[in-house]
């Protein structure tokens, strides 16, 4: 509001000037000659006098660039010509921003540079969100997409001054992309996914930045994407746009699985927390990841002695503080008390109600709490078993406060709660590690000790639905299912639910054939 009189005209003049200077052969290497002259003009016009004026200048420039693009997009012209027209101005604007950032303050002062970058990114994001709200379904992604990606590429050039601020640059962009996540700007979602999956962005975030400092920021962005897709996937509502976004997400996950499996390993818990339970293939993609230096034994090896593998003694890295997610504090304290001393005795009987949040269909259980509880209790159990100098096995996991909790949940929860609980266990069946081994034993133990066929049926359901989708399948899932169907002590094939319908029988036979 209340732009000073004449600022709009000055800004338009300056922007036109800059665009012409940028495209002139006399602009010099990386437009530096043109930039020196242009900064003088900006000073003369008083644009750089105050922070407020600089902010308004950038806002007006952004709006003018966007308006130009909308006018071009409304012309009856080929996409190639339209883009040429738009990029002619957008690319010049981006170069101006990059130069102002690089030359802001003296060369050693990184703070002013990053402050300016954050300011500009915030302005572009603000203009986008306002445009998105005002125009609604007429919103166009193009100008914003172009500004963000070209600015990112410019600011990741191999120059000394940029290398020294690179992590802050990445942080600034990630913050901006988080603000513009699909839930907030769904009309920008396709461009958003292009941005976060761009090869330069992925390279910087996951490969080049040392010590994996970009990983947690990238994981946040992926979580934003999953959270957006979740309601639609949960309702199996896959109209064409949603299917395309989903398929694009799968492509990106495949690239990550191929190039950065350790990233998926580290953040699997956070991702499984937000991926809906029926999104089986997408979840399997993440759970199938394993460290590149690991050689997985063939799960179909006859007489595979999983408990003899050295890897099962090693815990996987989990980058989420899942213990902190067990809320409220009183509940966590009671659980810790029960795990230590099996008191208070009321803990088990009250456990179910602690996990329920509403009676609203589809929203009755606190799924993140169930996931956290399962992993927490399981990791506590592993520590307890190790403290006795033992390894988890069907005998050592039994008769403990930890297994009390798991068995209580298996028995006491209704079918929906039990399904979610078993899913939480199955989400830990991954590559050979201590969690995979413990939870594999737990699932088999719950099957063997079940006091009702419904529990066995639901364990089977949770495993089977993860196996019948197209590949990949996590190693731990395979070895658990193979053990269930091969080990005669489970009497798997005697159960009615195995033979309840011809398709189900065929499914089991087909899966068993490939397993055996």
């Amino acid at each position: 509001f209340d732009d000073p009189p004449g600022l709009h005209e000055k800004t338009e003049f300056l922007l036109r000037e800059w665009v012409n200077m940028y495209h002139s052969p006399a602009a010099g290497r990386d437009s530096t000659k043109a930039f020196s002259a242009f900064v003088q003009q900006m000073h003369q016009q008083g644009i750089l006098k105050t922070d407020d004026l600089i902010t308004r200048f950038f806002r007006l420039c952004t709006e003018m660039c966007v308006d130009l693009c909308y006018r071009a997009l409304s012309e009856q012209s080929s996409p190639t010509l339209i883009r040429a027209k738009c990029f002619h101005t957008l690319d010049a604007f981006v170069r101006l921003i990059a130069l102002l950032v690089k030359h802001s303050g003296d060369s050693a002062n990184t703070v002013t540079k990053i402050n300016l970058l954050n300011k500009v990114l915030g302005i572009v994001a603000g203009v986008l969100l306002q445009d998105h709200e005002v125009r609604g379904t007429d919103f166009q992604q193009l100008p914003y997409h172009r500004i963000f990606i070209m600015l990112f590429i410019e600011l990741n050039a191999p120059e000394h001054v940029l290398e020294s601020i690179n992590f802050q640059v990445l942080t600034a962009f990630c913050n901006t992309f988080h603000i513009l996540r699909p839930a907030k700007a769904p009309g920008f979602a396709f461009a958003w996914l292009e941005l976060i999956s761009h090869r330069v962005f992925i390279g910087r975030m996951l490969a080049i930045t040392p010590q994996q400092r970009g990983w947690s920021m990238y994981a946040q962005l992926l979580s934003d994407l999953f959270k957006f897709l979740a309601p639609f996937l949960r309702n199996a509502n896959l109209d064409k746009p949603t299917q395309l976004l989903y398929k694009g997400t799968l492509r990106v996950l495949l690239v990550l699985l191929h190039d950065f499996p350790e990233f998926l390993c580290d953040f699997h818990y956070a991702f499984c927390d937000v991926i809906p339970p029926n999104c089986i293939q997408m979840r399997n993609l993440i759970l199938s990841a394993f460290p590149r230096n690991m050689r997985l034994p063939d799960p179909f090896t006859p007489n595979l002695k999983v408990d003899m593998l050295p890897e099962i003694a090693m815990p996987p890295r989990i980058m989420t503080n899942f213990a902190k997610m067990i809320q409220p504090k009183g509940f966590k304290n009671d659980m810790d008390s029960y795990l230590t001393s099996r008191s208070p005795v009321t803990f088990l009987s009250e456990l179910r109600s602690s996990l329920q949040i509403s009676s609203e269909p589809g929203n009755r259980y606190n799924i993140p709490l169930i996931n956290a509880l399962v992993l927490y209790v399981g990791t506590q159990a592993i520590t307890f078993i190790h403290s006795k100098g033992l390894q988890p096995s069907m005998s050592t996991i039994a008769h403990s406060s930890h297994m009390d909790i798991f068995q209580n949940l298996a028995v006491d929860l209704d079918t929906e709660g039990r399904y979610l609980f078993l899913n939480a266990i199955a989400n830990q069946l991954r590559y050979p590690n201590s969690h995979t081994h413990y939870f594999s034993c737990t699932l088999l133990y719950l099957f063997a000790e079940a006091n009702s066929e419904a529990i066995q049926e639901q364990i089977t359901r949770v495993l089977l639905e993860r196996l019948i989708v197209n590949r990949p399948h996590p190693w731990g899932l395979l070895i658990t299912f193979i053990e269930l169907i091969k080990n005669p002590s489970f009497k798997f094939w005697n159960h009615d639910f195995v033979h309840c319908a011809p398709e189900i029988e065929k499914l089991f036979e087909s899966v068993a054939r490939s397993c055996m």
């Binding site: 997009l73 996409p79 190639t80 883009r83 040429a84 990029f87 690319d91 998105h132 609604g136 379904t137 007429d138 919103f139 166009q140 992604q141 193009l142 997409h145 172009r146 990606i149 699909p182 839930a183 700007a185 769904p186 009309g187 920008f188 979602a189 396709f190 461009a191 292009e194 761009h198 957006f228 309601p231 639609f232 309702n235 509502n237 109209d239 064409k240 746009p241 949603t242 395309l244 976004l245 269909p361 589809g362």
Partner: protein
């Protein structure tokens, strides 16, 4: 069930679907040989 905001999101997603980003949107302008994508026969090499 889908909330009202989800229905809004679906409508906006569909609008975005009708003008998807183009790979050249993320590339430097090629003045001499810009991309000109068009359907080519399936028996032509595509990659």
């Amino acid at each position: 069930p889908l909330q009202k905001e989800h229905l809004y999101q679906l409508a906006m997603l569909e609008a975005g679907f009708h003008h998807l980003p183009h790979p050249s949107d993320s590339e430097r302008q090629r003045h001499y040989l810009p991309r000109n994508p068009c359907p080519t026969p399936t028996h032509y090499p595509q990659t």
